[in-house]
Every structure is written in C-alpha cells, then in structure tokens.
C-alpha cells in the first residue's frame, strides 16, 4: 500500500498550476487535500506520474464569501472550514451537511473543489452543488468557464473537466433556507448507501447512491410542485429510480432507504 513512483510539483498560483498540468499532460493530476486521491494511489488504483500540489494556493483559494445571497467558496476551502463558518440561515444546509463527510481528520484536509473534481456519486458536495444549482468556476488553458453543477458529473468518478482544468470556485447563486441533506450508512462516516437532499423552495430532489452520478428526480420534484405530501414525494422518488445492488444493499433496500431518507430530509428542511 505504497504509491507508484511520481514526481511532485508545487504550484505557486492558479495560472502556473494550469500551465504546468498542460505541459505535463494526461499523466499529471492536481492534489488538494488528497483524502481520496492518496488512498487510491496507495492501492495503486490511481498512478499519476506527476502530482501538482495546490497546497500553496490556499491563501488565494480558501475562502467563504456571502455576497448578498450569493455564496462563493474558494476551491481549497476545507469541509471543516465550512462546518465552522458563520453561515446564515440561507446556507445553513451546507454547514449542517459537513458532519456527514467522513471523520474530523478527513474534514480538516479534504476540500470543496477536490470533492467535486473527484465526482463520487454519494459525495456530499456533489449532491449539494446539484441541489442548490451551483456553478463551478473552472480555469483551463482557454481561460475561465462556469460549469453548472448538473452538467459536471458524467459517470462514476467522471466529470466534464478537461485534464488540465482546475476548479477555482463554487458559486451557490441563491439561499436555500429550507433545504436539507441526510444519509444512511451502517457506520457514521462511511460512504452513504443512500443520500437524500431536498430544497423545498426550489422544489429540487437529489439522491446519491442510486445512480452513477448525483441524481435529480423529476418525478419526486413534481410531487413537491403540486403540493403533495413528503411521503408521496419519497414514494415517487423510490418508484422512479433504478438503483444498483452491491455489498452494501440490494436495489429494493436502496428504494426503501430512499423512501425513509427523503421524508427525513423534507421534514428537516421544513423545520429550518
């Protein structure tokens, strides 16, 4: 469980990081908190020839700014920083969701941008970004572009980012005072078997663990839109999905969890 050989580079600024990665080619990867990448490297499931460490950009890219109802998070902001940020009721959903991410040591190193770029389908940031209609600000050789979160996740651990593109910021365009995320796993801190997130005002429902990407469920959203009950919403979601079966649970179990968790998420969102 030691990584394959790689060359370590430390970036000084965003532009330098992007040009370095462009120069190094596809065998190069950015490393931020390293909480997923290093484990994969230790198992030699990932074997980048070059790592470009973004740790030096923390001064530039670790920030939490509330610009009049638009929340901007620098890509290198840690989960722990968000967990402890004085976010108002409009974005309390983000702060409260942080407790679901792994364990404290993981949260002190893992970053918002790193989690989104990794694209794990039950990752809290991926679900939250889709739920709140976030825009992911990305810098590449061609300059800066803004990718809607819903268009970011393509498949298992696969995003719409070009290899050299780097997430620099995530923009949450509107407050979500009645939103919530909840999960179930057998142990606290595990990857969710199913995660459910809801924004009652935006009438959005997003599930994790039931598809290769964070999944919006229009059938469940329609129930919210027509003023249906939370139980109806959850039932519609459970009926609409085609979840996978694996060691953590079968498809029926994931449907059952969806019914339970989505009601819980709706109730928590309502209570806020």
């Amino acid at each position: 469980m030691k990584p394959a050989p790689f060359t370590y580079h430390r970036a000084r600024d965003v532009a330098g990081a992007v040009s370095l990665l462009t120069e190094l080619g596809e065998d190069a990867k950015y490393i931020a908190g390293g909480q997923s990448l290093v484990a994969m490297m230790n198992f030699r499931l990932a074997r980048p020839a070059h790592l470009v460490d973004l740790g030096g950009l923390r001064g530039e890219l670790a920030y939490i700014r509330d610009d009049g109802g638009v929340l901007r998070l620098g890509a290198l902001t840690t989960h722990h920083q968000v967990e402890n940020a004085p976010l108002g009721p409009g974005f309390a959903v983000l702060r409260d969701a942080m407790g679901w991410i792994g364990h404290l040591p993981i949260r002190t190193r893992g970053t918002v941008g790193g989690s989104l770029a990794h694209g794990e389908a039950t990752a809290e940031w991926c679900l939250l970004a889709v739920l709140l209609g976030a825009e992911v600000v990305v810098q590449g050789t061609a300059g800066v572009r803004r990718v809607p979160a819903e268009e970011l996740f393509l498949s298992f651990f696969t995003t719409a980012l070009e290899p050299e593109e780097m997430i620099v910021e995530v923009v949450f365009p509107r407050p979500a005072p009645h939103a919530a995320l909840t999960e179930f796993a057998q142990r606290r801190g595990d990857y969710a078997i199913v995660a459910a997130a809801v924004d009652l005002e935006a009438e959005r429902v997003v599930l994790g663990g039931v598809a290769p990407v964070p999944l919006r469920v229009p059938e469940a959203e329609a129930v919210l839109a027509r003023g249906g009950t939370f139980a109806e919403c959850a039932a519609a979601a459970a009926a609409a999905i085609d979840p996978p079966a694996d060691g953590s649970g079968g498809a029926d179990y994931r449907r059952a969890l969806t019914r339970t968790l989505l009601v819980r998420a709706c109730e928590a969102a309502m209570r806020r």
């Binding site: 469980m1 030691k2 990584p3 394959a4 050989p5 484990a39 198992f43 030699r44 179930f184 057998q186 142990r187 606290r188 801190g189 595990d190 990857y191 060691g247 649970g249 079968g250 029926d252 179990y253 059952a256 969890l257 019914r259 339970t260 968790l261 009601v263």
Partner: protein
C-alpha cells in the same frame, strides 16, 4: 491494603500515551531491507511459472526468492488423532506449486525501501493454471468437489464424533418438544490495530538469528523458526516489543515470520516485513465461519433433556500452528452444553478446508457461536412452550458445583444464576419492560435480549492433552530476581499484547513481597530470558502465568524471610514495606537492599547452606479442566423500520472472573470484548466473490464498528474466587466477545416478534432487518 483488587493505574500507559512505546515498525536497523510478498491472485490452482527477472531490475530491489530458492521446511500442525479424525496438512512457507487462496505468499521481494519493494512486486510475472475454487462448506462437502489438499478426502481436515449418550435417540423420540436451530456465522478478521510484522537479523557474534516480531507466542515462533530453518533452538532468539493487539490472530505462527528469518539468514542483512492493511484484511488469519444444526429435546416444564449437534467450521486453506484446524470444531464440540444441565449429548464436529485465507483462534474461539446457538435454543423453546425466556434458563442453569458435565468437563464454582438474576433485575428496575410495551403500542420495535454463559479459562496441560494436541500448551514459568537496590525483575513466559500484564502481574508480586509497583519490573517477550513459555491466549495469563509469578514471588519471599531471620537472630520475622522485621520488635528490621547487599556483595556473611544472590523460579500448570468465568449480558435495542438500523438503548454486563486483580483492567477487557462481539453480531464479515476474490480489502468494506456504533456498557462484578489459582483469579480476556452476539441476536429477535421473523445468522445486516419489518409488519 493489598494491591490485588485495586484499580492501579496502568504502568504501560505513560510510555504508550506519550508516543514512547516501541512497536515492530519502530525498529530500524542499519542496512535493513524491506520485504513484501508476491501473493496469489487466484483462489485455487497450480503455479506454472514465477519470473523474477523484471523484479531484480527494479531500482532498489536487492533480492527476490521463491520457495525453491529459500528451501525451508513446511509448517505442519498436528493432532494426536487417527487419520479418520484428523488429516495433517503442510503449510509451505512460500507456495511450492499449488496455491490455495487469494493472497497466499508465492515469493518474497526485498528492497532498500518500502516503496521500491512494492514496485518490485508489480514486476513479478506469475503464471497459473487455475482450478475450480472451493468457497463454502457446502461446496467443500459436496460429492465430487475439487480437493483443496489431495490428502483430505471430502475436504475434511477434522471429523470427530463425541459423547453420544446411550439412548439419546429414544429421548428425542419421547420428548414433549424438540426445538431446532440452524445458525451460520460470518467469517471474521480479528483486526488488531497493529498488523502483523517482523524484523529478522543475523547476529554473527551471538551466532543467533534474532527475530523481533509481534507475536502472542514467542517460544512457539522460535520452535517453528528452528524447525523450518534447520537451526538449533539456541541459535534463534525471538523478542517481542510493544504490541498493538493480537486477539488470537498472533497466537499462531505466520509463514511470513519464517520467510523473513530465512531471507535474513541468506542475505546476512536485517529484513523488515510490516503487513499492510490490505494483506492483513485478506491474507492473514481469519476465523468464525461456522454452521450449526442443533436439535434439543425438552420436557413440558422446559427442562432440556438432550442435545444433538452437527457443527461444521470452514477453516480456509490451512491448519494453523500449533492449534490445527481442530481449534474451532473441537472447542465447539466440547463446550456446547455450556452453563446448562444437559443430561444427554451427541455432537459431530468437522473442520473443512476451502480456498480462503486460513483460520486461527480469535478471542472466544467458537464460544461466541455456541453461546449464541444455546441461547437461541432456549429462547425458541421458551417461545414454543409459552415460558418466560429468563425463567426457562433458570430452570436449566447449573447451580451446584463442582458440576460434572455430560461433555466430560468438570465445572468449578461460578455464579450462573446470580449473574442472570442481577442482569435481569437491572433491566427490569430501569423500566425497560414497560418501555417495551409502550413502544409496541406506538408500533415501534424494541427488544430485550439476554445471554448467559461461562467460559473455560486457564487451559492447562490437562485440558489441551484431552484435545489430543501434539504440542500441549499448558504450564508456564516465572523467574524473579531481587537486585542490589531492593527491587525485583520478574520474567514471565506469558506475553501481553495489550492486557496490562506489566501492571497486573506486578500487583500480584507486590502483595507477596510488600513492595510498591514502582519497585517491580515485569519482563516478557524474550526467549533468551526465560526457558520456555506458551505466551498469551485462551485467557491463561492471569490464571496460569499469574500463578507462576505468584509462586516465584513466594519463593523469593521465603528466602528473604530466612535470610532476615538469620541476620535478625529470630525465627519470628515478617515482610513489611520493603523490609524484613522482627514481629516482636518492629524497630529491628533490615531493608531489602541491605539483604541484597549481603546476598550479592558480602556472601561471606550468609549462612553456610545459603546460595548467594536472591533469585527464584517457579512453574504453574492446571491438570484438571481449568476454571470457568461466567457472565450474563442484557441488551435493549430498537429497530428502525425505515433503515433497518439496530440502535442500542442499553447494554449491561454482570461478570464474574473470580478475584479481579485490577477491576479497571477487567472492565477494559469486558468493554473491548463486547465491542468485538457486537462487531460480529451486526457489522463485520469477510466475503468473497464467485472466483474467491476477497471483497474486503479496506475498512470501507470490512466494517469494524467505531466508538460511534458501540453503546455505553455498564459492568457489574460478582466474585466467585477460583480455588486453585494463586490469586483466585479466573480468566477475563474473552468473555465480552463470547456473550455479546447472543444477547444482541436475542434482543433483535425479541424486537422482531410482531413480524414473526426469527433470525439465527450473523452478522445481521440492516437490509435484513428492514426487509423483515417491511414485509411483515
């Protein structure tokens, strides 16, 4: 006030808690190489080629060896039983041609650093001819199944039928009621926090191979090293540094320990191997995968009349040394009747071999299962006979001691009934039965479950000889020496891997010699410092090791008294607070350091017949059936229908380990044991895919519960002293693990009562609970 019975602060803690412990991985020697193993990627087949040429070209790699290169003897564990009952099978240090599980070591690669060695592993080319894997006991026992070992027909390593009370079939035929339980338990890994590891080096001056390894059984590792490498035992020294747990996984000899020894001999360079977590989870020693088919006959009053059991243990690919594949089925067969008066008994116990990582003892060894099975038997009988589940136990518990069991075991006194009664009383007085009724009225699923059990500890030569082990562990030795400053060093053959022996053994010595703990040093884990020992497993250290230490201390005390009496010119002397003094005149006393000064530096002043120096040694063994600790556990759980989560609302344990040398240490043992029992009941299982690839390569998939999942546990103590151990202590190391699965399973089943579903297998997954309630509530 005596030291025994006091929760003295752990003497290990200051160094461990400040990061000053020294574990195997902390050892760094000059010119040390790092070793890892090329491991089989298939579950069953023949190795047709191993090409190491690419590996030797990897920068940093120094050497790589196959079985042919190392040419060491196989490890073979044996029982003194006929071939019809036991088939010996050799475990090669490195696979010779056949591979029998994914992860089996095929070659050892040695490099200058731990990174290069893994690059080297990747460059090895192994070719195989794959065979059909045997992956379950059903597959193993199926007619025409592929054979894991050519010598083991029907893939059966152990097949022992025992007891078979005359007329038992007639009892079943005439019984008022016959209850059936079929139960399966999942394969588990003991998961010591510190994985296995060893550093081997050749000492040319001592002409010794020094192997520093984290083992529970240093002398057995020495014996196997000497045998496999063709060395005299005097040419091997095994030293054990601090250990981060073992739980039985380290009380067997690992083939990797032998391989690093062989590599160090060959290269004349120190070799370190630290097992990584992936190997620890997939390719070390596992345990616990068993199937029980049990019938029990009852009369109308709920008294058990007969017990008939078929036990099959899936022991994986090899017999472990020294216990063999018999460890689980023989334990299960001998102990199944447990704390109950069973008048007739028949059992068949088998060990089958499969293409999975081999099994070793794991804390409790079969007793978590047999207690679970027996407690299910009584719960089911209570249900079927309309009796209270606690009351039916009361009617069947052994209450008079010594009790000669149908299983040819004599039980020494315990508090079986008292512990169950106190446990139930605690649950009842806290109002859990009322809360359960209220919950039921609200449509919630709250369950209360108990387990009641004893645990044989202090297995001596007598008990292990009855099992017909070729290597009969049993006795232990202790040596004690007083130094010139009046303190003592005690050397023991037992080996603490987290049990606080430096504290508890010192407490025993302190009482015998009138010394403070600070004046006592406990030394363990060095085969050059004590003649022999059997290490620490089977809850033997307080009972057997502690008794040997107590006897050695008593002998030293006698010498001090005799020397003091001579020097103080009276026969009437006593030991007090580091002095020998006259009973009639406390002012006339000699400090121990004064006595030591004479014994070592002024031997001319000693009586004529006295030996110089102040040293003593002693041994202790148990020739009978050992001593039985006992306990009752009570669990209250709530099941959450929407997720299948099992939430603990209460957990109580009433334990009786005789005299608790250090109650805090006993409670630590209980809590940790219960956590591991809950782990087996609800969380952990090593699973394999259809090709025999293990599915648990990390803690993502092997779900060791954390402090978040383990409830607060209240522990109460009863004390029925052991009559024949020196301190009155019984073993306390395993009970928590033994009692927890049954209590949890019973509580879950109690909660599931409205659904009509009964679960007899572990681990119980949330999915299973959710389905049971969802489909039936």
């Amino acid at each position: 006030m005596s030291w025994v019975g006091r929760s003295a602060a752990r003497r290990e803690d200051p160094r461990l808690l400040t990061g000053n412990g020294r574990f195997v991985d902390d050892i760094r020697l000059p010119r040390m190489l790092h070793a890892q193993f090329v491991r089989s990627t298939i579950a069953h087949g023949t190795v047709t080629g191993v090409d190491l040429s690419g590996t030797l070209a990897v920068p940093g790699v120094v050497a790589a060896f196959t079985a042919g290169d190392l040419a060491v003897d196989d490890i073979t564990a044996v029982l003194d039983r006929p071939l019809s009952e036991f088939v010996p099978t050799a475990m090669p240090v490195l696979a010779r041609d056949r591979v029998r599980f994914v992860g089996e070591p095929i070659a050892i690669v040695l490099a200058e650093d731990p990174y290069s060695v893994e690059d080297g592993l990747e460059a090895v080319r192994v070719t195989y001819e794959a065979g059909m894997p045997v992956l379950s006991e059903e597959q193993a026992l199926a007619p025409g199944a592929p054979l894991v070992h050519a010598a083991a027909a029907g893939n059966t390593l152990v097949d022992v039928s025992m007891f078979a009370t005359e007329g038992i079939d007639d009892i079943f035929a005439a019984a008022h009621r016959v209850v059936y339980v079929r139960s399966r338990t999942g394969r588990q890994n003991a998961v010591p926090l510190e994985t296995r590891g060893a550093v081997a080096s050749w000492d040319p001056r001592a002409e010794q191979l020094l192997v520093q390894t984290c083992t529970q059984v240093p002398h057995q590792v020495r014996t196997v090293l000497a045998e496999c490498l063709g060395l005299g035992e005097r040419a091997v020294r095994v030293v054990v540094p601090d250990m981060g747990g073992g739980f039985g996984q380290k009380c067997v000899v690992g083939r990797e320990e032998i391989a690093v020894g062989a590599a160090a001999l060959r290269l004349r360079r120190p070799v370190k191997w630290i097992e990584d977590r992936r190997d620890a989870l997939t390719a070390s020693f596992l345990a616990r995968e068993q199937r029980y088919d049990v019938r029990a006959a009852f009369d109308a009053g709920g008294r058990i009349l007969a017990l008939d059991a078929d036990v099959v243990c899936d022991m994986g690919a090899y017999s472990c040394y020294p216990f063999t594949a018999g460890i689980e089925p023989l334990m299960a067969s001998a102990e199944l009747p447990g704390v109950y008066r069973v008048p007739a008994y028949r059992v068949r116990g088998r060990a089958v071999t499969t293409n999975k990582a081999p099994s070793a003892p794991y804390r409790g060894v079969s007793r978590p299962q047999i207690v679970m099975v027996m407690e299910r038997v009584f719960e089911r009988a209570a249900r079927e006979l309309g009796l209270d589940p606690v009351e039916i136990r009361r009617r069947n518990l052994i209450t008079e001691f010594p009790y000669a069991g149908i299983n040819d075991v004599t039980y020494d006194p315990g508090s079986y009934l008292e512990s169950l009664n106190l446990c139930e009383q605690m649950i009842r007085e806290e109002g859990w039965y009322e809360r359960q009724e209220q919950a039921a009225a609200e449509g919630r699923f709250l369950g209360i479950g108990y387990s009641c059990f004893s645990e044989r500890t202090g297995y001596g030569s007598g008990a292990f000889a009855k099992r017909k082990m070729a290597v009969v562990p049993g006795f232990d030795l202790a040596e004690i020496t007083m130094d010139l400053t009046g303190g003592v060093t005690v050397t023991t053959g037992t080996m603490s891997h987290g049990q606080s022996h430096e504290t508890t053994l010192a407490q025993i010595v302190a009482d015998r010699l009138g010394l403070d703990l600070a004046q006592i040093k406990i030394h363990q884990g060095d085969t050059d410092r004590i003649t022999y020992g059997f290490g620490t497993f089977a809850s033997r250290s307080a009972t057997i090791g502690g008794s040997a230490v107590a006897r050695a201390a008593t002998k030293l005390a006698d010498r001090l008294l005799r020397l003091g009496a001579y020097l103080l010119e009276t026969d009437d002397v006593e030991l007090h607070d580091g002095h020998v003094r006259r009973r009639d005149d406390h002012g006339r006393a000699l400090r121990y350091r004064d006595l030591a000064g004479i014994a070592y530096l002024k031997a001319n002043l000693l009586p004529k017949d006295a030996e110089p120096g102040l040293t003593a040694s002693a041994s202790f063994d148990v020739h009978g059936d050992g001593t039985f600790s006992n306990a009752a556990h009570g669990a209250v759980v709530e099941l959450h229908p929407g997720t299948g989560r099992v939430e603990f609302l209460r957990y109580v344990c009433v334990e009786d380990c005789g005299v608790a040398i250090n109650p805090q240490v006993v409670e630590g043992q209980c809590r940790g044991g219960i956590a591991q029992g809950i782990a087996g009941a609800l969380f952990e299982e090593v699973t394999y895919d259809a090709q025999g690839e293990p599915s648990c390569a990390s803690f993502i998939d092997y779900k060791v519960p954390t402090a978040n999942e383990i409830p607060d546990i209240e522990i109460r103590h009863l004390e029925t002293p052991c009559a024949f151990t020196e301190s009155g202590a019984k073993g306390a190391g395993e009970g928590g693990t033994i009692g927890a699965p049954a209590a949890v399973l019973n509580a879950v089943n109690d909660a599931l009562r409205p659904t009509g579903v009964e679960l007899d297998d572990t681990p119980i997954r949330p999915e299973t609970v959710q389905r049971a309630i969802g489909a039936n509530a």
